[in-house]
Amino acid sequence: MASEHSPLAQFEIKRLVEWNVGGLDVSFTNASLFMVIAIAAITLFLTWSMRGRAMVPGRMQSMAEISYEFIANMIKDNVGSDGRKYFPFIFTLFMFVLFCNLLGMIPYTFTVTSQIIVTFALAALVFVGVTVIGIVRHGFKFLTFFVPSGVPVVLLVILVPIEVISYFVRPISLSVRLFANMLAGHTLLKVFGGFVVSLGIYLGWLPLGFIVVLTGLEFLVAFLQAYVFAILSCLYLNDALHLHH
């Protein structure tokens, strides 16, 4: 099987414009293109839909307002009132992941969030940011986050390493969850697409039907994973701000 027809070929990075700055490869790739398309689409969606500034919103304006209120309520419920100033960051993160996921659902596009380096960079940004916020806010008291309260000292010997490990695993679990969901969904679609062709006109309908169902599921996953990414970021932020378990 040629590499062009491999189910994983869709994840290959192609350099559209080769560019090297001081030994650093900053080529404009297909991934870069879809990042730019995503931010343009988000900005257009949120400004064009709100251009009427209607008292009674239309369909597009409602969608923009629902996106805003969805994240605003998520922060209010999971972080509290002192999470308000992190709203632009969580909102940006959610919209970016959501639009990258959804753009990937259009045939022949590139799914930015199916790249482990991208999801890991986003997760690491959240992890480092949240840790810095925790340390700046609580100083050395931040270390008490790893010591569960009301536990015998003997158990702490076991529990503290577990807490530390679970804390440092966060960026990995956060990034791998999104990456694996996107990778699996898109690979599966491609594999079953290959079955449609190889089974031909008589039996090809079965995998085709499966693809239709799977596409619906993938749209759900696109929303769900963006939601999970945002809400976990909120929960981590809440831990850093309030230090309670």
């Binding site: 870069s32 949120l46 790249q115 482990i116 380096i117 991208v118």
Partner: protein
Amino acid sequence: MPQLNIADFPPQLVWLAISFVILYILMAKLAIPGISEVLESRQNRISSDLEEAKRLSEDADKAKADYEEALAEARAKAHGIVSELKASMAKEQDASKAELDAKLAKKAQAAEASILKAKESALSHVREIAADTAKSAVGKLVAFDVSDKDVEAAVASSMKGDA
């Protein structure tokens, strides 16, 4: 897996950083203020409308209370006028009745007086007529002229005897 090709990492990280920072700025400076402004103005509009509705309903309640008060006052006034009118009419009636009674009593009295007078005059005439008749009768019977004085005395004595 193409995702694990380390040579592809730098351009992706660079462009992710560029895109994410630009998106953050666009969201924080452009999109979010736009949406929150609309949501806020709607919230303000709703609360001001609610306030206005509350104020109007209070006004309506007040107007109703005023109306009821005015109605009660008017009723009381009407009642007063009716009872006053009734009292004055009764008084007038009593006065006119008394006047009528007095008039009738006076008329009755006058009538009685005139009857008495008529009776008296009739009685006095009876004596004269009796005297005349007696005189002419005596004259005719005995062809004797009797003096008036004697006749009258005789009549008076006979009437006395009758009485």
